[in-house]
Subunit: 459 residues, 2 copies
């Protein structure tokens, strides 16, 4: 094992790190459908979007043609604090599985936020600061995105107001406290600080909140306060652009050793990690330069790709955001209370949705208990305690590797290990105690929420 | 900043990593005093120690002359999973402080156990496995050592029985659950599984346990079960030997860039991190090849070096372990309930004690609230959320850097960042809420526990 020329971990030197993000849309023949104004049904203009988002981020959101965006030096300096993230050759896992497959994973958990979210958080905070804004607002559920944004704003000295779903605020005091370390104000949602919050509290006095409500409060706060904008950690085109740093680093590292993956696997919630990981490889495929299998892994409890419809829908349950065309289960779909909180989104990135519709990607679902079993097996041989979200990709990669064991094929598998599970130990405890169940929505559940999709005329 | 030739993080390649541990004792003129049998007052023999510890570890414990111990290939392979740890140039902290000083830190928190403890855990587990043992026992307080040992045993397929102080077992279910992920059995101490546990429960029915009691239970379990040995995560000579990997990597990384530190700083509890970090540099000083200032940083609440006595004492409060000569506050000393759990040990490594007695090191104390303020300042500019223990070194390094700002000196400072604070957020919360106090023992407190030191005749 140790004689192998490929090290356990491939780190890039600073001068090997990417200097530009790659915009996958530039190489797509069928561009992702534009965001629509829910009032008029017309594509959102830059001017409309700039009321909510930073100017430069709107430009990035709408640009389907520019292939590369230079990463500003300040963001590259921040990236140097926790990047390059290691590309790990999973020698120990391969040995444990007895597979001829070669497994690599890109580990994005080596930072205090514990996930890849920081890659876009620093970019969005940077452009807000560069525009002379005072601060940003956002929502957070489990808290990973809120933590990442807090770190970025703490570094830049930008005010950060986080609306945290009330039940998480109360059940995850540690997450809340990390955000306070970085200087953010954290408000349990619904709150009395916004009109939408007051209205919901009057209507449902005992409510513990929802992500949809927290989004609405964050947007209202951004719009109501001069010098503030709203930021979002997934789904958007701009977020996938920033996250391309994951795939770019992976590709540079693999190219150094002449390794070409056969299969690339990522978990898929809103799509930011998967979109970032596959970006440069998918670009090659779109340009006809190379071929890869891409596999999106969804939880059985929230199967947007595999059981959703490709249609225009609201991004938020509160229905205040623009409409996006995507694979969706309907914005009123309520996934079971599974432990991969980051994958419980009803829709999917418009970019990935178009690629999936055009046949460039596959998608599968996995069961929660099997995901935790894979996570534990992985932790024992590779050392890292993975987040439940990331463990969906682990499970799929292990299954592919075991298939290679049957067939004798020496395939090369690359998967994204998006984060660590230090704040998910309640879930691990339930798994150990045999209290964890698998949850699959019925066809009726899905049909019911799909029946409420907004009616949109497409050209 | 970015033009500077020294990168933000220096990683060694696999072939630059140390292949042997360095035994500081080989270069000490005054060797550390031997462990004594508390019954006879005579030095512990290898045979006596082998009833409790693995044979190879006893050899390492007693060897004051061999300068280098080869690191077995299996341990080197395990190290590759999470090492080399990055040596970070703290550009952002320097800029924030406006200091001409150059600050480096060696970050040992990039693994699931969250600290440097894993460096010795894998070594101790490996030798137990190589000796054909079935398993190991240990105690854990806050849980870092227990987690590290669980990871090592999970990897090697060795049984691991952890006695966890009952109040931690109940208050830190997450730590307990991480150990279960890695396959360890975790027993709240005191327990009904040992004679000493039963006795204590009979005497103090409602007790929430103590580290001293957990040690006693772990030792009894190891001795009572064929094929089991007891392992310990700090204080011992063997542990400092394993931890020398921290200093060796640091020195190789600095040498690559022609950097020589002026001041080397580490927090000091039992001394394993500090001893490991300074090892190769102290070796140079002992051989007269180079000079450095070494600073041990203690909490004001548990000042072994600065207010203790250099004398023989029990390593454990239960008084079942051998006597060690060390700076001690007395084994009956009860430090205030400060949040740096890893620094609440009444004594100090015999190696470091001898070096301090001989004038090769300095020691200072810092106040808890100042430590947390420094931790937060550090987190915001360097990104990493530090453990309270590690933050003692941060505080001291920042103070030295600010002194350079006054004098205009461009000193180079190296400090050890031993771990992350993900499981210490209750402490951060108390700090944010202004509920944290500083605790300094009175002279009477210390005199009282020192009066109970065992009477030992030294030659």
């Amino acid at each position: 094992m140790s004689e192998n020329k490929i090290p356990y971990k491939i780190y890039l030197s600073e001068d090997e790190m990417p200097t530009a993000w790659y915009n996958l849309r530039a190489d797509m023949k069928n561009k992702p459908a534009p965001l629509l104004n829910p009032g008029t049904g017309q594509p959102m203009t830059a001017q409309e979007l700039e009321g909510v988002f930073c100017t430069e981020l709107v430009r990035q959101e709408l640009d389907n043609d520019t292939a590369y965006f230079q990463i500003p030096q300040e963001i590259r300096d921040f990236y140097k604090m926790y990047r390059p993230s290691p590309l790990v050759r999973a020698y120990c896992l391969e040995q444990k599985l007895g597979t001829p497959a070669k497994i690599y994973y890109k580990f994005e958990g080596n930072n205090t936020s514990g996930s890849h979210k920081l890659n876009s958080a620093i970019a969005q905070a940077y452009y807000a600061k560069a525009q002379g804004l005072k601060g940003v607002t956002t929502e957070t559920g489990a808290g990973q995105w809120g933590t990442a944004l807090s770190m970025a704003c703490g570094y830049l000295g930008l005010d950060c107001r986080v609306f945290m779903v009330k039940c998480s605020y109360e059940q995850k005091p540690f997450r809340r406290e990390v955000m306070r370390v970085y200087g953010s104000s954290v408000t349990p949602s619904p709150s009395e600080t916004t009109n939408v919050g007051k209205k919901i509290l009057a209507q449902f006095p005992g409510t513990t909140g929802s992500l949809g409500c927290a989004i609405s409060e964050a947007v209202e706060t951004a719009v109501a306060n001069p010098g503030y904008r709203y930021v979002l950690g997934s789904v958007l085109n701009q977020v996938l652009l920033h996250q391309s740093v994951i795939g770019l680093e992976s590709k540079i590292a693999l190219d150094k050793y002449g390794v070409k993956p056969d299969i690339i696997i990522g978990c898929a919630g809103g799509g930011s990690n998967l979109g970032g990981l596959i970006a440069p490889f998918m670009g090659q495929k779109l340009r006809g330069e190379a071929d890869y299998r891409f596999i999106a892994v969804e939880p059985e409890s929230c199967p947007s790709f595999t059981r959703g419809r490709y249609a225009y829908d609201f991004c938020d349950t509160g229905m205040v955001c623009p409409l996006a065309k995507m694979y969706t289960l309907g914005s009123s779909f309520m996934p079971a209370a599974d432990h991969a909180g980051g994958l419980r989104f009803h829709g999917m990135s418009s970019i990935l949705s178009q690629l999936y519709a055009d046949g460039y990607m596959e998608a599968i679902t996995v069961k929660q208990t099997e995901v935790f079993a894979a996570a534990e097996e992985f932790a024992r041989v590779e050392g890292i305690l993975p987040a439940p979200e990331s463990s969906h990709a682990i499970k799929a990669a292990m299954d592919e590797a075991l298939r290679c064991k049957e067939t004798g094929e020496e395939k090369t598998i690359l998967f994204g290990l998006t984060g660590t599970g230090y704040f998910d130990l309640v879930a691990y405890e339930r798994f150990h105690n045999g209290e964890m169940k698998n949850n699959s929505p019925t066809d009726e559940d899905i049909a019911k929420s799909l029946a409420r999709l907004p009616v949109v005329k497409e050209d």
